[in-house]
Amino acid sequence: MATQYLAANRFGLGRRFDDPAIDDPKAWLTRQIGDYDPAPAALAGLAGRDAIAAAYVEYQGERQAMRREAADMPMNAEEKGMDPELRRMLRSAIRRHYVDASAARLSAAVATSTPFPERLVHFWANHFAVSADKQTVVGFAGNYENEAIRPHVMGKFSDLLISAAHHPAMLLYLDQAQSFGPDSPFATRVRNRGKRQAPGLNENLAREILELHTLGVRTGYTQSDVTAFAKALTGLTVAGLGRGAGQRLMPADARPGETVFIDRLHQPGAQTILGKRYDDAGARQAEAVLRDLAVHPATAKHIAAKLARHFTGDEPPAGLVDRLSADFLKTGGDLRSLYRTLIASPEPWAATPAMFKSPWDWTVSMLRALKAPALGERQNIAAMFTQLGQPVWRPGSPAGYDDKVATWAGSAALMQRVELASRIAGRIGDRADARVLAPLVLADALTPETRQAIARADSPGQGIAMLFASPAFLRR
């Protein structure tokens, strides 16, 4: 059994060139649970929520000013709207936050001495996915992972869930920032004036929390559960960035980009969800629902199955799913206990079935293996992962990236990996020796075939490309 390889690759992000050998794989992984640092140095220089929000405020302000101007004076069609140059500039300020955060995420993953928790950060960020194809998410996506996900991956699932659901990236992505109680004081006032259509409910966040984040699809909740939950969530919005009339109700001291609860937007009254009545307690109403959802047996099963799949393969063994699910229920969603049970279980330590590394995992493991910098100074990290088919924080759907072998194992994708490996090998040349690296990074999974293929390579560079394209290196 290739336990060193599995510890480093299935549970971790690949062995670093300077990592000591993993003598006791299970102890090595368990230790990382305690050693986890939620704020690694690589992320220290990133802009905070205020600065990101400021970029949006500026962008929106310019856009509105242009619209007003356009309304005041008749203009040619091509002069309407915002000056394209200005728009590009402001957009690029927003995009810079995304590009910087993507590069920092990669640096953190390559540098980390706790690769198992780092993998879990990536796992949970994908579970609670936001997608940067929505303009309002682009700037905040990195901040979301770093501030909403990282602090809670070693805590309770309920805290992770609440944290994710309250971050502006999630509120903007799933339209919660524009969802208002139909009978809220604000909506009622607008309706009574009769001037325009009253603002109303948007069910998007409520539905995705039930379907994707907690219970799972087709687990018995109904449309009325979704609607009631959506009503409970009303009042929760983002200061300074959301569209619509609600912005006028923001408290004077709210900073743009801050998550706020505004009573006048909240649907009054009790809500019944999954047969349980939740009295109206303002912001606490939705939080009570989230806490109950977080420990629901269906949630336990859903999380157990996703985690088991991530660490075994497409069809997670039922025994493992049941064990994780039981652990989750017993501890009320204590994630550390869940990880310990995972490590102690036999199923993830079986060589087959194996997962195919995602482009992210594969690239990270290449960079960890090499001492010399493998990418150019000016390499755009975000663009590289887009090219490899896995743009950072942009899965395109709230379901996140699918976690199956077939998601990543395609023929064109494989050729692209070989090309990138080839390019990196070209940059590295003889500054790394694949014959030395192979036993280090593939450890007890290095096959005689791969060893021989590398030894017979016609150049040091070709040897490195062969190592990174070898069957064991492509998998985890």
């Binding site: 090219q387 023929s411 090309e419 940059r427 293929a453 390579a457 490309a465 070898s470």
Partner: protein, 373 residues
């Protein structure tokens, strides 16, 4: 869109994208000397490139490959040039090609990695030097002749040293070369997931990036690009070109012919592209070691020792000659009973050619390029 090297070259980079090529800032060249080092990575078979068809043991040892050079140019009574090297044969006739045979670096084992390190670094043992012989040569040249570039994504060891060297890689994601693809095909053979994926990936991939592909035209494109980087008044004066695909363990006949066709067209395009500057250009073609005298069981040859090196250009000292202290191919004459025995050091061949080309004292050149000898 991913631009392959091929699509860039074919779209006319020599003209259209000249503005994006690396610039070299200095006024005028002191002398117009140019040097090109073409490395053959993978151990090129000197016994098939300049075949000793006159050696009595040749035909028996080479068996099925004995007629590999049939139809090639006769180089005196002893040697036949591989027929794929038609342009090179023309250069030989015009005294612009010289072949040094039975040469090898000081390296006597058979690892590509170590052998290339010795060939490039110029040390007396693998990994003994962290700068290269070309890099050290630059320190001997006048400032105006030091501008060096590698057509590679990173500076190869041979060019490393105290003088800053440029690199030029024509594509963001270069296509994997045919040899790497062939090796991965073998590695994935028994993998139920990767085998079919790779099979279909390879079928849809146009193999175009190595010099042997596309009936030699890739080599011509590379030569054209190289000339365009070296021709301008402010262009590069020293260049290294990397070629792979010489490790012909199996199916040598077709593969080597394709490789040599590419190399031949590369040289031809370089000569054409440099025009009048060709007469002041020296091209050195060398490999890390040679291949076995005997053919193996798969129509190829295995790692050996001595090979042949080519010197090409308009101002050679001894053009139109094969120089060799020929050791013979009989079993007893071979190195360890299997390889062509090295009778002359490749280092001295390179140093001698360079000293003549730049008119620098040979002893000084030797000491700088190969300080350990």
């Amino acid at each position: 869109m991913i631009l392959s090297r091929r699509s860039i070259i074919l779209s006319g980079i020599t003209v259209a994208a000249a503005g994006t090529l690396p610039r070299f800032a200095y006024a005028a060249a002191g002398t117009p000397k140019r040097l090109v080092f073409i490395i053959q990575r993978g151990a090129a078979d000197g016994l098939a490139i300049v075949a000793p068809t006159g050696d009595p043991a040749f035909a028996a040892a080479r068996r099925t490959l004995a007629d590999e050079t049939a139809g090639g140019a006769k180089l005196g009574g002893m040697f036949t040039l591989h027929p794929a090297l038609a342009t090179t044969a023309g250069l030989y006739t015009g005294k612009q090609a010289h072949f040094a045979h039975a040469v090898a670096t000081g390296y006597r084992d058979r690892s590509h990695f170590d052998g290339q390190n010795m060939l490039e670094g110029g040390g007396s043992r693998p990994y003994g030097r962290d700068t290269g012989w070309v890099g050290r040569l630059l320190t001997l040249l006048p400032a105006a002749e030091r501008d060096a570039i590698a057509i590679a994504p990173a500076v190869p060891l041979a060019l490393r040293g105290t003088v800053q060297v440029g690199t030029y890689a024509p594509s963001r994601l270069p296509q994997a070369d045919a040899d790497l693809i062939a090796r991965l095909t073998a590695l994935y053979q028994d993998d139920p997931l990767l085998h079919p994926l790779w099979d279909s990936a390879v079928k849809t991939q146009e193999l175009a990036s190595d010099i042997g592909g596309n009936n030699g035209r890739n080599g011509a494109d590379l030569g054209k690009l190289a000339a365009s980087l070296m021709l301008p008044a402010d262009g590069a004066r020293v260049m290294m070109i990397e070629t792979g695909g010489w490790d012909t363990h199996s199916g040598q006949r077709g593969r080597l012919a394709a490789q040599l066709r590419g190399l031949d067209q590369l040289v031809g395009a370089l000569q054409t592209g440099l025009g009048p500057a060709w007469k002041d250009t020296l091209v050195i073609v060398a490999t890390e070691f040679g291949r076995t005298v005997e053919v193996n069981g798969t129509g190829g040859t295995d790692h050996g020792t001595a090979s042949t090196a080519m010197l090409l250009g308009g101002g050679l000292n001894e053009g139109g000659r094969v120089s060799a202290d020929w050791p013979g191919l009989g079993t007893a004459a071979r190195y360890e009973g299997r390889d062509l025995k090295p009778t002359r050091s490749l280092e001295s061949v390179i140093a001698g050619a360079v000293a003549h080309h730049y008119a620098i004292d040979p002893k000084r050149v030797m000491k700088t390029l190969y300080p350990d000898t």
